[in-house]
Symmetry: C2
Subunit: 452 residues, 2 copies
């Protein structure tokens, strides 16, 4: 009888585990962990503060530690790996997939890296070294080298016998790859076709031609976009001579899709997309202070603009009171455009052909909202401060700033991308700096001309 899953039970488990840990019932916790799947243990570790995390890790079954590491997010994995002895780490890698071992090794300092490699057995070491030859964020870096190839001129029955003899297929196999004598990819045969085909039919009659194969050099985000668009479950990877060298499966791609999508959100707030929610305080403080340092410069730039209008500010307090409204609205409007463009660039919707159209659209959106909010805020100011000219000035500044926000919101991320700077990371801050400076200059400038 199946357990019907209605919701995530991590927090119940977490509460039980925490209570048991507090009461020092380590044997009980160890037993609980033994009953759990590696992926659930990984989730539990990710949801635990650092101290509990270390204790829990010590209580996991060493045989399972490789599989658990496979499932951990990078920041948490790095934290655990950095505390392990090379010998222990080498032992743990035996339970891991080759691409994950390669990831772990890449994160280690050089000396430790060599020690771990030296401790591994020869076949494993050879495989890992092969995986390490490809850059991390490419198809080559994420592929597995565990797949089954067949020839096109054998019958379905022969293939079935061959597979029965093997007894087990590599994880997540949904298709067999058909290659010629030179190991060049010519097609693939899905398991469902193999199953529904009459036994005496030859593979080449029912296989699907390999019209498209992924190059080892393809960028991993590009791979993820292709999988998502084509609804692939797996895809073959070939080298530049069309030799089959690996296979990428959807489960690795799902992680990249999640990471890429989270990357934009976390970067826009100035965080690393792999930031561990429960990282130690000093580590978090250090990482985040960098971003605050960038913002200090932006805030000082805005203050310097106000400083240019010191005399105006000296003469009328109402101007100082109202001067934050225009930059604030510009920042919000501009960041809407920035978020839209960052997403569009990430999923590949925006390119040279439609940039101009998008620019004109966002400028018009900015203008329309500029007119709307200029009228409203202008009205509010006239009523509140009883000063018609002040109302007209803030309305003019608002309209200008929202128009600028729309245009800058399109141009900044696209420009940053051309300069190879991550638009998600730098886009929002650059935008806000511009809308702050323009908003303050126009408002204070108009006020200086017409009111002082």
């Amino acid at each position: 009888m199946a357990d019907v899953l209605e919701q995530d039970q991590t927090h119940q488990t977490l509460q039980e585990v925490n209570q048991a840990l507090e009461n020092g019932m380590f044997v009980h916790v160890r037993r609980m962990l033994q009953d759990m799947e590696p992926e659930d243990i990984a989730h539990l570790l990710e949801a635990s503060p650092p101290k509990e995390r270390q204790v829990l890790w010590q209580l996991t079954d060493p045989e399972e530690q490789g599989e658990i590491l496979d499932e951990l997010s990078e920041d948490v994995k790095d934290g655990i790996v950095s505390q392990m002895e090379p010998e222990k780490l080498a032992a743990v890698t035996e339970g891991m997939e080759t691409d994950d071992v390669a990831y772990v090794l890449r994160s280690l300092p050089d000396g430790k890296y060599q020690k771990v490699l030296a401790q591994m057995d020869a076949t494993d070491r050879h495989r890992v070294e092969k995986a390490l030859a490809y850059p991390e964020e490419t198809a080559g870096g994420m592929m597995s080298t565990d797949f089954i190839t067949i020839r096109g001129d054998v019958t379905a029955d022969v293939v079935l016998r061959y597979l029965r003899m093997k007894g087990e297929l590599p994880e997540a196999t949904d298709a067999l790859y058909v290659v010629d004598q030179n190991e060049q990819l010519i097609g693939h045969l899905s398991l469902s076709t193999l199953i529904t085909t009459q036994p005496d039919i030859e593979v080449q009659e029912v296989m699907e031609d390999a019209d498209e194969a992924i190059s080892v050099e393809m960028d991993d985000s590009e791979v993820a976009n292709l999988f998502e668009r084509r609804n692939w479950l797996s895809a073959p990877v070939v080298d530049l001579d069309n030799h089959l060298v690996g296979r990428i499966t959807i489960d690795d791609v799902v992680d990249i899709i999640r990471e890429d999508a989270e990357h934009s959100m976390m970067s826009m707030a100035g965080l690393d997309d792999d930031e561990d929610t429960f990282a130690p305080v000093m580590k978090s403080a250090r990482r985040r202070s960098i971003w605050l340092g960038v913002n200090v410069l932006a805030a000082l730039a805005a203050a310097s603009v106000s400083n240019l209008f010191e005399e105006t500010l000296d003469q009328m307090a109402a101007i100082a009171i109202l001067m934050t409204i225009v930059p604030s609205m510009g920042g919000v409007a501009g960041n809407q455009t920035v978020a839209l463009v960052i997403r569009g660039l990430a999923v590949g919707h925006i390119g040279e052909t439609n940039t101009r159209w998008l620019l004109s659209k966002e400028a018009r959106v900015g203008l329309i909202n500029g007119i709307l909010w200029a009228a409203i805020i202008g009205g509010v100011v006239v009523v509140w401060k009883g000063n018609l000219i002040l109302g007209l000035i803030i309305a003019g500044a608002m309209m200008t700033n929202l128009l600028v926000a729309g245009v800058a919101g399109v141009c900044i991320p696209i420009l940053l991308k051309k300069l190879n700077i991550d638009p998600a990371l730098a886009g929002g801050m650059a935008l806000t700096t511009i809308t702050d400076i323009i908003g303050l200059s126009v408002f204070l400038g108009l006020a200086t001309v017409f009111l002082v």
Copy 2:
């Protein structure tokens, strides 16, 4: 020979298509579209401005329109569907998967909805009505009802014969479901096990028990988290009596993972996560003005705080010049925490057991960065304005505001979630409002006491 894919070719195609459209070479475009896969046409439509999009849609093969609609993002799909006649729409739904037809029907106004249903053939209508019975954002709403069930007491050979007779398996089938006489789920047999098993072995000896099945009522984001964590390719869906009612496959889940992750980013900027990059100007302007309206209130609240200190501002322009720095730093620091907490809530890392720990961590991070930037900004102000007291005042306000930002950054999203308000949508704005008000009050308040 395979085409080795090295990068996304949409923009090259888009350029070719655009040129052909401009020159009125519609026949040429139609031919180009005929050579493309539905998913690539969908991508092309998503990357096109509204006018080109309509023309392109007219030029697609009506037989393929169902499949293309399946692949479109919701906002773009809604735009196209809303312009189609009920008869045509009913015809197009024949090529679509049931859950997608249900989606399209849900988006239609009532009268049109009924007309389309009436035009569909009886079997299709029946299936769609069944799918419509489940709420949209649940396992029931996303599952497909197309799957294969077998009994446990037959041999692998019998199953293979049965499948050969059927000749074709439902899309993305990686496992067959084993049910008892009452259609209750008792296990599943993966295709790879079926293939590698000796023909005379009974299914129940090699099948995997159904320890876990998804309830029709499970929330779709919860389903996505489970798939991601367990590396599933498909999973059975059961009703409350454990009767097998459907199957969810990874390709539908991938869309939800992407949507959920994008949702946080887009919502934080005040956008709908399905916002079409190339939506018509008026539609975009209207949607975004709502968010600007919320910000106007926040900005006016901040201005009202400054207004309380009108006399202080009247006496010293330097205070007005510097007053934006403290709120700005508080907003940035607080939004880092908000982004972290929103992500943690979304992936299920944060719950009652660790909220207190997180709160204390973020408060300490805020305090450390508060001290650091208080010292730096305080120093800058002393040098710039030659006023020691002003430097001490801004340093005190900075420290207070960054501490508040850390605490509020944890509390606001968690509180909003408890109130069933989307933290990604409202969290950032609520946080900024608080850090603006606290930052201004403390800075201007201290200035009033010590300087005026």
